[in-house]
Symmetry: C2
Subunit: 563 residues, 2 copies
């Protein structure tokens, strides 16, 4: 199965990249942009900055976790079956030590800092890249290196009490177990998950919640601390729970997810409310301006929602993944694929400053070509490359299309062609290309039909994509008195490029329905607005949040004060 | 003149600690608490943690700027004429190198990091301690050491292009010039001020605005970056401007101050909106929950307002200092003087966790006895010790009482005894103890009377201390739809200890005037409140913000949603 997540059991079965093929459309375009631009962009920057050179023994460059960036890109190349994989993989493998250890920063000074050293974190991403290679094209010198790393980890850590300050190895080891059948990888992952919160790590400035070491994972009530770490750990926990049949552990993550979505997640699906510690805030601490909403946390959130969807079949998880895909993942890259948002705030008061170099900060006011910590572009590269894996699932009953987009989907004798202008239009036509003689259920979101299908049949559904005003939870102090606009899965925002109208004393009239206007295939919206204290109303143009910031420095707001 | 700030010219003349004596009252109590508890508390902790031992050559402990904490405490001891000064000063002097260099962290590896090394910053605080000693009790081996440090700094930096990443040496050198008359100290300070923004420092993760090196000081429009650094630099800039007669430079700081007060200052007078970088936010970015409002920034803000008051005589500066003194400075120490707020947020959603040890984080949910970075307690120690210096000023016309509190004030033949229950009561009776035969103007805030006074005369004024509802600037998104209550100079808040009512869905009725209730001499207030969506109203007790958190872990909010 060519898919990053292949559980041995669960309510829904993932479909491989060979079973879901994207046609030109919203996601097809982004996947193509990834293969044509983003992957090469990432490789060029990491070559230029010496992060790849680190594997060649060149003078050390970049942060202590720079290896992981190269692995994320390798994973993206593997899912994309990109021929650039081989040479880059060879460079990586050449740096491995005889006992399996592989890290360009700490070689010779191993495992001295589990809080910040990131060695196991780097392995995690390397293993995920290996899994991608295995599943797309089979074994390779790189997959041998991955096995040596995993065996080294098991030897070194199976009976220790240590964990990594940054989770990811947990889900990576489970997936490697799923590929290889080697049970010690699963056991190692299980131990890493269960050790956390003992505590297993030292106190740090941000507190142990920063790396989810404050409370054992099965006792926690909500996601907290560094949002990417929290998402990755939760993914690994679900994977362990599913493979070991630990329904209590799975239920714990489900409960944490529910509370986090209700109380700690931005309208866009973004996670993280604090720049300090790149972390979740308290319940209902959801500032639009200082929303951290890191692109990588969204990547982790989609990975988690997808795992929970596979395990439980609850549509709720797919809906949250969809919100996050359209409003964070799709928002990060510029339309040309050559710059990225690291953070994805819901309000920008001061236009960002354009830069064509490395941004030393995680900023969200303007996209940057690269960052001193450049996890996000590489994380997007692997996400876009494996995107078909998230769009649909199968069961013995039929096919579930979770995110309608132009594509071809095959499963168990049923082959479908999805035609849709979604999310701009609500209509989705699922054409049956071939079908078995037995009844099959085809579902698209909440719509489903179970019958015997014949080639040429069309299952047509229509999603409501009327624009709608939405109100925040009254407990979210930071957006009290504000409203926002959504349309289908898209969140909208007011964007004012330099010289445009001020968004500062804005008031919008939520009693008047937004009017649609299609510009270059994109649905924009007009609402009625005024300046506070002035009677005169005018028209305010809203654009889909994921499109903002493509016209140069601008102010922006998703939540707008209502009248 | 026994005063930390003695400009050679200006509209108002400071009065020394010998000319203003506090009697029992609001500030007299805090100054006494400082001398009886806080100073010793600070010394004990710094002895225990080895920060004082660093000067004895013991193994290095604490952060790279730990020396400065000892200097701040020494300054406090000097203003308090505390006999513990001598021994601690001797310990410090013993660590000085023959050429004047003195730093326990970088000795042997000098001046290699101006962004983070803090060597000149530490000197600045040492010099301020020396000035305090000079002015209270005259020369001392410590003041000799201070002169050697200052001479070393002038030799090393007069013709270099360097500045310190953390300002403070600028104002310290000007004050040392004022004490000694040595003009090169002033020139050195002037150069440090003017070099900034060239830029003079390297880019750091937080950006050059973090240490005010983004723009030359006379071109800046607003305070920005790390709030304590911004305040200290502005103090030094005013000092340089006043001594060199640079009215353009003074006007620049005044304009920066105006904009900062209008757009970047919390209702309490607190400064700093971001935990990340401990910094100012953008204009109108004033989140109550994540308000950083560091105690040290308030100390710096009072120092700055006082300097601007002396230079210009504008009452506005005294009013801002008063707001900050009552609602940040007075809020930081617990009522027993043994724990402190580092940050002073205006809303706390999750009660803090009690600790009797060192708090590794700068938190504001509960006071802590000490912090890994423990600038705030020491900064309070020196502020409380020198507090009389800020309360009143003189001119040839008479005496200006800026902050009415029980005290005795003498200037130029006029001696006053101030009797008042302020801020709990609005009445202030200024009794004339002795007076010259010529007319003198006595002013208390905006009230003034110019005449010939005789012993026994009383100048009685009455400030309005009726509680009042206040509205935020509509551009402050984070508190839209909220109201707060003030009474005289005090900001109030709702506080709910554990087990108390939830402040989450609170709505208060700002059409009903708050009712007063005096509890142990403290005026508390009752307002009408309801839970959102419920009709039933009940009484909500508000306490002065500076008293909150003295009854254990609690939630709290200053800005409350209005009906």
């Amino acid at each position: 199965m060519v898919n990053p997540v292949v559980p041995s059991n669960g309510v829904l079965t993932p479909l491989g990249l060979d079973a879901v093929r994207l046609s030109p459309g919203f996601w097809g375009h982004l996947r193509e942009l990834n293969q044509e631009v983003i992957i090469g962009h990432c490789q060029d920057w990491m070559e230029k900055l010496g992060w790849i050179g680190n594997f060649r023994g060149e003078p050390a460059r970049g942060r202590e976790f720079a290896d992981s960036e190269v692995y994320k890109l390798l994973e993206g190349m593997a899912w994309a079956r990109d021929p650039r994989f081989d040479e880059l993989a060879e460079t990586v493998v050449s740096a491995q030590e005889p006992d399996g250890y592989l890290n360009t920063r700490w070689s010779g000074d191993r495992y001295r800092d589990f809080e910040w050293g990131h060695e196991l974190y780097c392995y995690g991403h390397m293993i995920q890249a290996g899994v991608a290679r295995w599943r797309t094209s089979g074994e390779h010198p790189f997959t041998d290196a991955v096995r040596r790393v995993a065996d080294h980890v098991c030897r070194r850590f199976m009976d220790s009490a240590e964990v990594c300050g940054h989770p990811v190895i947990e889900m990576a080891l489970v997936e490697l177990y799923r590929v290889t059948g080697t049970e010690r990888y699963l056991e190692m992952a299980r131990r890493f998950v269960e050790r956390r919160g003992g505590p297993a790590l030292a106190e740090v400035e941000f507190g142990r919640a920063y790396f989810q070491d404050d409370v054992p994972v099965r006792e926690a009530e909500v996601f907290r601390g560094h949002a990417v770490r929290a998402m990755y750990l939760a993914c690994g926990t679900v994977d362990v729970a599913v493979e070991t049949g630990d329904s209590e552990l799975l239920a714990a993550v489900e409960a944490q997810w529910e509370r986090t979505i209700a109380r700690r997640t931005h309208l866009t699906g973004g996670m993280g409310s604090r720049h300090s510690g790149e972390s979740f805030g308290d319940d209902f601490e959801l500032p639009p301006d200082r929303a951290y909403s890191e692109t990588c946390a969204a990547v982790g959130s989609v990975m988690l929602s997808h795992r929970l969807l596979l395990a439980t079949g609850r549509r709720r998880y797919a809906e949250q993944a969809q919100r996050t895909l359209y409003n964070v993942i799709a928002a990060s890259p510029a339309s040309d694929g050559r710059s990225f948002f690291y953070t994805n705030p819901l309000q920008v008061r001061v236009p960002g400053q354009a830069s064509d170099g490395v941004n030393p900060r995680a900023e969200g006011a303007l996209r940057a070509p690269w960052f001193a910590v450049s996890c996000c572009p590489n994380n997007l590269a692997r996400t876009f490359a494996s995107l078909p894996a998230y769009l649909a699932t199968g069961t013995s009953e039929g096919i579930q299309i979770h995110h309608p987009t132009p594509s071809e989907i095959s499963h168990d004798g049923l082959k479908l062609r999805v035609e849709t202008g979604y999310p701009w239009e609500g209509g989705v036509a699922v054409h049956v290309v071939s079908a078995p003689a037995e009844p099959r259920r085809i579902s698209v979101g909440e719509h489903a039909d179970l019958r015997v299908w014949a080639p040429g049949d069309v299952f047509a559904v229509d999603f409501d994509v009327q624009p709608r005003w939405v109100q925040p939870d009254p407990r979210v102090d930071a957006v009290r008195g504000c409203v926002a606009v959504e349309r289908g899965p898209l969140v909208y925002c007011a964007e004012s490029p330099e010289g445009g109208p001020s968004l500062e004393l804005l008031q919008v009239d939520a009693d008047v329905a937004p009017q649609e206007d299609v510009v270059d295939g994109v649905v924009e919206l007009d609402v009625r607005a005024a300046t506070l204290g002035e009677a005169e109303e005018s028209t305010l143009r809203l654009v889909p949040y994921h499109r903002w910031g493509n016209r140069g420095p601008a102010t922006m707001r998703v939540w707008m004060p209502g009248k």
